[in-house]
């Protein structure tokens, strides 16, 4: 069966109906837009449910949430935050330990809307090829931002970080931040497939590191039913994570263990054979589990 990149999930739509074949995508967009809306009703309508932005926010005067990546940069730059920021970072770390580190990328980060749009357009326009950058580049980027923070004594990456620039721009005024966002969009559209979120973004890399110990993971309980339609590959923003679990490479368990998986759930949507589902995997236990008999 040849992969259908333009319309992945056709089989699933035929089998389960359009809504069921877009369930997780719809949920995810609702989450992304809902989070934005929670932040925006303050500046728009004066209804202050959440104050601040993705770097640090304060919800209903009780819940502090801090981006632990920003906190890490602050620490290496030689400054220490106050109590609320520490508590906020702890809450965020624990949350993403539960739901999967890069769940942040798929379910919360506003730049994902932008890069998903770029990918959608890239597919429609049939743009192929482009730059080759290793997926590990983001970890180098992460290290670089921490080194630069330590050397300059400032949170230097925040000067150019498209993630916080986008979110802060929406809350506090965009200014020329749109040029940076356009650059990310065009990069993903013309230069590199899934370029920013999938290869370069140090924020995603940081949450990916949290994801190494995460509980919520993509399970493949029915991987034997796979008919190699490749639809999951077509929609997956981190394609390299699927194969080991799906094809039991080196006796891999039927769980996506790669922390780059964003837990977006789109593979569940498009699979007509219902190979995928979310499940809880205790780190270490699953990894050490006996290889599934072939």
């Amino acid at each position: 069966m040849s992969p259908n990149f333009l319309h992945p999930g056709a089989d699933a739509i035929a089998a389960n109906g359009w809504l069921a074949a877009h369930r997780w995508l719809i949920l995810r967009r609702a989450s992304q837009l809902g989070i934005l809306l929670l932040f925006m009703v303050g500046p728009w309508f004066g209804v202050w449910i959440v104050k601040g932005n993705l770097n640090y926010s304060y919800t209903l005067g009780v819940l502090p949430l801090t981006d632990p990546y920003l906190l890490a940069q602050m620490l290496v730059a030689g400054q220490s935050p106050a109590d609320l920021a520490w508590i906020g970072a702890a809450i965020v770390v624990v949350f993403y330990l539960l739901v999967g580190g890069r769940g942040y990328c798929a379910w919360a980060c506003p730049v994902n809307l932008l890069t998903d749009a770029a990918h959608w357009l890239r597919t429609r326009l049939g743009i192929k090829g482009g730059a080759h950058i290793s997926r590990t580049a983001r970890y180098w980027m992460l290290a670089m931002t921490l080194v630069v923070a330590a050397v300059t004594g400032t949170i230097a990456w925040e000067m150019v970080n498209p993630v916080s620039m986008f979110h802060r721009g929406l809350m506090f005024g965009m200014g020329l931040a749109w040029t940076v966002l356009l650059a990310v969009f065009l990069f993903d559209l013309f230069v590199m497939r899934r370029g920013w979120c999938g290869h370069l973004c140090p924020v995603g890399a940081f949450y990916g590191l949290i994801g190494r110990l995460s509980l919520l993971r993509m399970m493949l309980p029915r991987r034997e039913a796979c008919n190699d339609c490749m639809d999951c590959y077509a929609v997956c923003p981190e394609q390299q994570v699927i194969r080991p679990a799906l094809k039991a490479i080196d006796g891999a368990p039927p769980v996506i263990l790669d922390s780059a998986c964003t837990n977006c759930g789109r593979c569940i949507d498009v699979c007509s054979k219902e190979v995928f589902r979310f499940g809880v995997a205790v780190p270490g236990v699953i990894g050490a589990a006996a290889p599934q008999p072939k």
Binding site: P3, F5, G42, W48, K51, G52, N55, Y56, P64, T66, D67, L70, M74, G78, Q79, S80, P81, A82, L84, A85, G88, K128, G129, H132, I133, S134, T136, A137, W140, M141, A143, M144, T145, V148, A149, V151, T152, G153, T154, I155, A156, E158, M159, V160, S164, M165, R168, G169, M171, F172, G173, M174, G175, L176, A177, T179, R193, M230, Y233, Q239
Partner: protein
């Protein structure tokens, strides 16, 4: 299916592999080092750019002031998490977050006094809102804030310097009659009026910017600058003679010289009092000769 195929890297020069014999370990190691070198150079270049940009953008432009209790500048841009909580909790909406095109660290809060000054809230909500140490939570008395320092920059356009009784900066100052006082000077232009010169005192000025905002001239004659621009500093070894004299309880170097004035007959001059008539009995008293005990303190005994 191009996207999912395992990526073939650009050709790598492998002299030991020309005969296509399998050398998995050596070639993997070479590949690792090649990748590492590539990443270090590529990402390192990017980091260099980001670092230099960050270094250049850490100095505040003169018109931008930080909220009350802000750390000094290099530390502030390390401690500020760029969340905008101070902006949100300011009841006067006079704080902004820097945009990428502003010449300061993106996302950090500032205000421009001429547009909207700090109203010096008693409870300092901006500081309370700060989740980090960027705004010092130890600041509980807003009059102790030092956001900057007002400087009367233009004596040529200040209305009070021109002899008018504008006094607006003096009257709007929240630290009334302490941060700005009016110092009387003779108006030499008219010859008989008084100039009321606004004088800023750094030990009371919070740098809120109300004076700059209220200054009625087209461009403010009094402006608030960040402290590093507004404030000078004496060298550490400088001593003020009159301060030291007071501390020592007497002149350390030489006694004050008794001054003699050539005055018209029957008149005497005293500093601060001016000319006055001399009572007839005093007129003929000559100046007292200097006694040994009145010798300079520095010359008494063998100690300086």
């Amino acid at each position: 299916m191009r996207e999912t195929r395992p990526r073939q890297d650009a050709p790598v020069f492998r002299p030991h592999n020309m005969d296509n014999t399998a050398q998995p370990r050596g070639s993997a190691r070479r590949q690792f080092f090649a990748d590492a070198a590539r990443m270090t150079c590529g990402v390192g270049l990017l980091g260099l750019g980001v670092g230099l940009y960050a270094r250049n953008a850490t100095a505040l432009p003169p018109a931008a002031l930080r909220p009350p209790g802000a750390l000094p500048e290099p530390e502030f841009s390390a401690a500020c998490i760029r969340c905008g909580m101070c902006v949100r909790d300011c009841p006067y909406h006079m704080l902004y977050l820097a945009r990428p095109e502003d010449p300061m660290p993106t996302g950090t809060p500032y205000f421009v006094a001429r547009q909207a000054p700090c109203e010096m809230c008693e409870h300092i909500p901006c500081v309370k809102a700060c989740p980090t140490t960027a705004l010092d939570h130890a600041l509980t008395d807003i009059t102790q804030a030092r956001m900057g320092l007002a400087v009367l920059v233009d004596q040529e356009t200040c209305l009070n310097f021109l002899g008018l009784r504008c006094d607006i900066c003096y009257r709007v100052c929240p630290v009334l009659d302490k941060a700005i006082t009016l110092q009387q000077q003779s108006n030499v232009r008219t010859g008989f009026h008084t100039l009321f010169i606004p004088v800023v005192h750094s030990d009371h000025c919070t740098g809120c910017g109300l004076c700059e905002k209220a200054c009625p001239t087209e461009i403010a004659a009094i402006k608030v600058f960040p402290l590093y621009m507004a404030k000078g500093q004496l060298s550490a070894h400088y001593r003020l003679g009159w301060v030291e004299k007071e501390k020592a309880g007497g002149s350390l170097v030489a006694p004050d010289i008794e001054r003699h004035y050539h005055t018209p007959e029957g008149l005497k001059y005293e500093y601060g009092k001016g000319l006055s008539a001399v009572p007839p009995a005093q007129e003929a008293v000559p100046p007292a000769p200097t006694s040994p005990s009145g010798a300079p303190k520095a010359l008494q005994g063998d100690r300086l």
